[in-house]
């Protein structure tokens, strides 16, 4: 039995390579920047909704933990929990393709969003010290966002990622 010469095999139709998506300074695609934005916003809005819900619900004494379950029926608390679930899912996704020391500062802008929400929505007063804190966080986010998102290693990527790269 002889093997077929390569030249006589069925010609493989030419497929133009997919264009690379536009990438930012950190080497991330627009979709990945969007995931970082989702981490930031869902965390901030989730915490704010929980805060509003629990203030409206009233204090929960340690001796009556069943009240915590009842608090979940409040639309504010339920909305906050749903947003925090979305936060956790997007946080896991971000950590699967970026370093922890990139994700944490890059998404810390959520602290500033919470402060702005508390001023605009809850009409709380923001002291000059807090404005300074917001400025420092924004500066920190700006610094880290311009660097690489992932440490380069010589190890091959995990099996799951390889299969996805080939098929996706």
């Amino acid at each position: 039995m002889t093997s077929e010469p390569i030249l006589n095999s069925t010609p493989i139709p030419y497929r133009a390579p997919r264009p690379e998506p536009a990438r930012g300074a950190a080497g991330l695609s627009a979709g990945k920047y969007a995931i970082l934005g989702v981490v930031t916003l869902t965390g901030a809005f989730g915490d704010t909704l929980l805060s509003i819900g629990m203030k409206r619900f009233g204090p929960v004494p340690l001796a009556r933990p069943e009240l915590m379950i009842r608090a979940l029926y409040s639309p504010w608390v339920a909305g906050g929990v749903l947003l925090l679930l979305a936060f956790f899912a997007s946080y896991l996704s971000a950590l699967s393709w970026a370093d922890l020391t990139y994700v944490l500062p890059a998404t810390s802008f959520g602290y500033a969003v919470i402060a702005l929400l508390s001023k605009l929505w809850l009409h709380e007063r923001i002291s000059p010290g807090r404005w300074m804190g917001i400025a420092l966080i924004v500066a920190g986010v700006g610094f880290v966002a311009r660097g690489p998102a992932l440490t380069a290693t010589s190890e091959p990527p995990p099996t799951g990622a390889l299969q996805g790269a080939e098929e996706g």
Binding site: S96, Y111, L136, I137, Q163, E167
Partner: protein, 129 residues
Amino acid sequence: MNLHSDSAVAAMIGAVVLSATAGDIVISSALKKIGDLGQIRRARGWGGTLCAIAGSGRLFCGVGFMAASFFALLFALSHAEVSLVAPAAGSLTFVANAIAAKWILRENVDGRRWLAALLVCCGVALLRA
């Protein structure tokens, strides 16, 4: 033991910082081992992605640390003032994460990242004070 003494409050804040850092480090390590979730979803769909996540014992271990951190924070808040516990725990966790990521996860924490972590750490402390 006096739970309102300075050393007891420092121990509570330390427990929050350590458990939160352990949670972040273990979860990050688990996800680097699983691989890019976006690529896994494109290849195997949502079911395959959930299976990849559910099959990682390390990830659940990290979630356990995060839960421990949450309860440690609640305990600390019930014994010390929120204006002390929240900024101290929040900002120290940033620095602890940067140190642990460098030494345990072997991440490339360059000057830019150190500066960002310190800026955010100071910002969080000011914001919560």
